[in-house]
Amino acid sequence: MTIAIGQQAAHFQLPDTEGESHSPDGNPATVVVFTCNHCPYALAWHDRIMEAARDYYGRGVRFLVINSNDADRYPRDSLEAMKRRVTQEQWPVPYLHDSSQEVASAYGAKTTPDIFVLDAERRLRYRGAPDSDYGDPSQNAAWLRGALDAVLEGRAPEPAETKPVGCSIKWKA
């Protein structure tokens, strides 16, 4: 299943690494990021995404970072490994565990990372990569930041959709 731009995204409730539940509700904009612990693309973009989370926190934007990979086949994506990362890297956002992979499936997530920007009504306003080049930190998650600025100002993001680039989500067999 894939959500189209303008369509309402599925509601979900997922636990973070401390067991606390999180949902994409109640904020002027929510960024849902599918990621994982071992993909070089996800790791290359990680700091830029975290920096954007810090910068937009004061404007009411919520980041929900989700790991949906099959941890049985990829132990580096286990809940324990997620906990270690959050603690060691001092994440400013919750890291959610989608163990059933239902959220990734409902959103049609394809890669890590794959970013979905939702407005206050949970309608999809941007989907794709954080910026145009994982190898260039100076890109500074420009597509993601542009989408957030647009949503917060009531405009349509431009571009509204880019190709997600990264490792495939590791689905259960």
Partner: protein, 111 residues
Amino acid sequence: MELLWWAGCPSTDRALSELRAALQDAGISNADIRMTEIRSEEEAQGRAFVGSPTILVDGEDVAPPSEEPVGLTCRVYRRPEGTVSPTPGPETLREALRRARERTTHEEVTR
């Protein structure tokens, strides 16, 4: 030269292109690059494959892994400037080609 790749990772084309560029920079025009697809965990185990792409020059990994687990995954490379990348990058490839050339020269001298 051999490039081991897995279809679940999108960096194969980039790795091949960077390898060709490094060969050209090193003045090596007649190198044979064998592309080997790793299709299963069993094949990964058999080749000690720690991720895609893996580039071997004369059988030696251009960036010898330390404690990476074997399996079907995308490989994480650490660039000299500290960034993370899905491919080894030009400096690592250049250095691997230089080492290979040194080995060849040494073998010729001691033969």
